[in-house]
């Protein structure tokens, strides 16, 4: 059962991810992203991380993709980039070879260290499974003890995002500078 759920969810994630890159219509790409994010939520549920699964659906699949769609609609759906244009003809076949190679190496490495991982892993704590609030409690404990510094540094990232939005979207006065030759 566990394996079956995993395979289905993984297939959802991968199909969605490929869809995001290959779809020409940006709306379809954004909807493929929803598929990927749902697949990840299913994987969270399969690992008893119910709270994370809920957050995944509400924040990512819900709010963020809606924002994506807003932006796509505002910019216009019909503006498709011409992807057939290619300055260096070797790079796409080369990228394919390299990406298949890297994927192969990573899969081989994970398979090779499978035994060691099973030997070390303790699995899911059975006490956690019985307690309905355990997820949230563990998460908050991590955030406010071990990762409190990381949590605070994240706020600086948000500050940069705010400044960046202002810098990038401010109306510019004056002439554009001539291209240098």
């Amino acid at each position: 059962m566990g394996l079956f759920v995993f395979v289905c969810a993984a297939a959802m994630v991968l199909v969605g991810a490929v869809g995001v890159v290959t779809r020409n219509n940006p709306v379809h790409a954004a909807l493929s992203l929803v598929l990927t994010l749902f697949g990840i939520a299913v994987l969270f549920v399969a690992n008893n991380a119910h709270f994370l699964a809920a957050v995944q659906v509400i924040v990512y699949a819900g709010a963020i993709v809606v924002l994506f769609l807003f932006v796509i609609m505002l910019l216009g759906v019909d503006q498709a980039e011409d992807l057939s244009l290619e300055p260096l003809t070797v790079q796409r076949p080369l990228a394919l070879v390299v990406s298949i190679g890297v994927t192969g190496v990573i899969i081989a490495a994970v398979l090779k260290s499978q035994d060691a991982l099973f030997a070390r892993g303790t699995g899911i704590d059975s006490a956690t499974l019985q307690d309905a609030d355990a997820n949230i409690r563990q998460l908050s404990r991590s955030i406010f003890t071990d990762y409190v510094f990381a949590f605070e540094v994240t706020s600086v990232l948000l500050l940069i995002a705010v400044v960046g939005t202002v810098v990038m979207s401010r109306r510019q006065h004056g002439q554009h500078v001539e291209e240098s030759v």
Binding site: S113, D146, F149, L157, I160, G164, V166, V177, E178
Partner: protein
């Protein structure tokens, strides 16, 4: 309900003094944004002066901590997430000096390009926060957040000239490629976490050492280290992950290029050393060959490609790649167990190179003129006639970058080559020196065009005050350190305490019973 009340959460103790440099930087950037939005018409140069003040305060805070660490030893703060040691503090001081110098150049640059507002200065400060966090992180998550803080600020700074298409293009290229490299780094963290059970550098180190069950060779861990190396090699622009560097350095506003080549490099290299030296000292034989290959490729490719350029900004971009190769030679030497001089050599190199490169780009900023458009080698023709003093300063910077004795560049290059020779890495030392010889040709080319060719442009070249101060400081520093290097070398020798704090942290974690 009772169970909930009974458990009160005890957070980790926070050593406010220990993170005071970060707090100064954060407070400074927030205040700058706040004041900038409330009072839009401030006298010219206020933002610049304020940023210089904040960065100098940061340096002073770091120096106070330096004294404290010398007295009571290095330690880890806030649930072992941050390390407080001489290594981190020296990086903090170097980054603060970089922001102060870069702000001085930026002031006149912004006026020339008809920009105002505090955004660029605020982004320098937030980028510095990222850099300091990277240099002092003792946890991979914290390191990643520092990396993102630095990178996001740099993407924005690169694209900040909204009226120049090259700047926008460079920003987008950097953003897309940087996003990929961050993803590699994050995947590396995930695989490392999977195979060691922790993201904390000290805990990873202890999990991999001795007879713990994690210490056997683990294929997944190797991939994790490899992917993290890819992410960091991109940030230090090591060949073959350097493709973005020339385009971004050329397209970015010149002061920002100076900032990327100084503070950006300091942060990326200190993070690289943290990960390799603190977390994986038991895996030296696995990562040292990779660094060896990166270092030789970077030194040679950087120097050879630099010679072929005709744009001074691109030349300096490739020269910064070749310097990154030299620094990697030092990182390779730092891999040898028990060798701590290499760490000092790398940090000295970073500090000296930061000042050199800011000086060089300050001259480029002044010569480039409005729109940053005059940066070809032809635009530097006859600079010796138009502005002899500035041409002399650039000559000093270029000679120092080439490694001339009696300049700081010699001290820097000598340090890493000596560190490599001391651990019997002779082949890499020879290759690095060969690279230095090739790169010397590039610096000569700029000098010849400055002094021996006649100027084609008779327009008066105005040297603004801020840039003048920065150039003067950088050139005096370059010569002074070149002639009297002793005090700096004595100070940097103390940075070898990087892994002492780790041992203490591991001791303190073993005291606590599991669970």
């Amino acid at each position: 309900m009772n169970a909930l009340l009974a458990e009160t959460l005890v957070g980790p103790s926070i050593d406010w003094a220990g993170i005071s440099p970060l707090l100064v930087l954060l407070g400074g950037s927030c205040l700058l944004l706040l004041v900038g939005s409330i009072f839009p018409r401030l006298p010219k140069g206020t933002y610049c002066a304020f940023t210089v003040l904040v960065s100098l305060t940061t340096a002073v805070a770091a120096m106070l901590q330096w004294r404290d660490v010398t007295k009571s030893g290095p330690r880890n703060l806030i649930a072992d997430a941050v390390a407080l040691d001489h290594f981190a503090l020296l990086a903090t001081i170097a980054i603060s000096i970089s922001i102060a110098l870069v702000s001085l150049i930026t002031d006149d640059y912004l006026r020339r390009e008809d920009y105002d507002g505090p955004e660029m200065y605020a982004l320098y400060l937030t980028a510095a926060i990222g850099g300091v966090v990277m240099a002092s992180s003792n946890d991979l998550i914290v390191l990643f957040l520092g990396l993102e803080t630095l990178s996001l600020s740099l993407y924005l700074l690169t694209a900040s000239h909204r009226k120049r298409a090259e700047s926008q293009e460079a920003g987008l290229k950097y953003f897309v490629l940087g996003g990929f490299s961050s993803a590699f780094f994050l995947y590396g963290i995930a695989l490392t976490y999977g195979s060691t059970g922790s993201t904390n550098l000290s805990k990873i180190s202890s999990a991999l050492s001795g007879d713990s069950p994690f210490s056997q060779i683990d294929a997944m861990l190797l991939i994790g280290i490899g992917l993290m190396l890819v992410g960091l090699a991109f940030k230090v622009s090591a060949v073959p992950f350097h493709i973005w560097t020339p385009d971004v350095y050329e397209g970015a506003p010149s002061p920002v290029t100076a900032f990327m080549a100084s503070a950006g490099k300091i942060a990326a290299f200190t993070a690289l050393l943290r990960v390799l030296v603190v977390a994986f000292p038991t895996r030296i034989d696995d990562w040292r060959p990779a660094i060896w290959v990166l270092a030789t490729l970077t030194v040679l490719a950087g120097s050879i490609l630099a010679v072929m350029q005709t744009n001074v900004k691109r030349m300096l971009a490739f020269s910064s790649i070749s310097h990154a190769g030299f620094l990697l030679v030092g990182v390779e030497a730092a891999g040898h167990a028990g060798d701590k001089d290499a760490l000092a050599a790398v940090l000295t190199y970073l500090l000296l190179y930061a000042v050199l490169v800011i000086g060089s780009f300050a001259v480029v900023t002044v010569v480039a003129g409005k729109g940053d458009s005059h940066t070809t080698l032809d635009d530097f023709r006859g600079l010796g006639q138009r502005r002899p003093v500035m041409a002399l300063a650039l000559t000093v910077f270029l000679l120092a970058q080439a490694g001339m004795p009696a300049t700081s560049g010699f001290i820097a290059k000598f340090g890493v080559i000596k560190a490599a020779a001391e651990v019997q890495s002779y082949s890499i030392a020879v290759i690095a020196m060969l690279g230095a010889v090739i790169a010397a040709f590039l610096y000569l080319r700029i000098m010849v065009s400055m002094w021996l060719a006649d100027s084609t442009n008779d327009a008066e070249l105005f040297v603004p005050v801020g840039a003048g101060i920065a150039i003067a400081f950088a050139s005096v520093f370059t010569v002074a350190v070149g002639v009297y290097p002793g005090w700096l070398l004595d100070a940097t020798r103390m940075v070898s305490d990087i892994s002492i704090s780790v041992i203490q942290a591991v001791d303190s974690t073993t005291d606590v019973p599991a669970g």
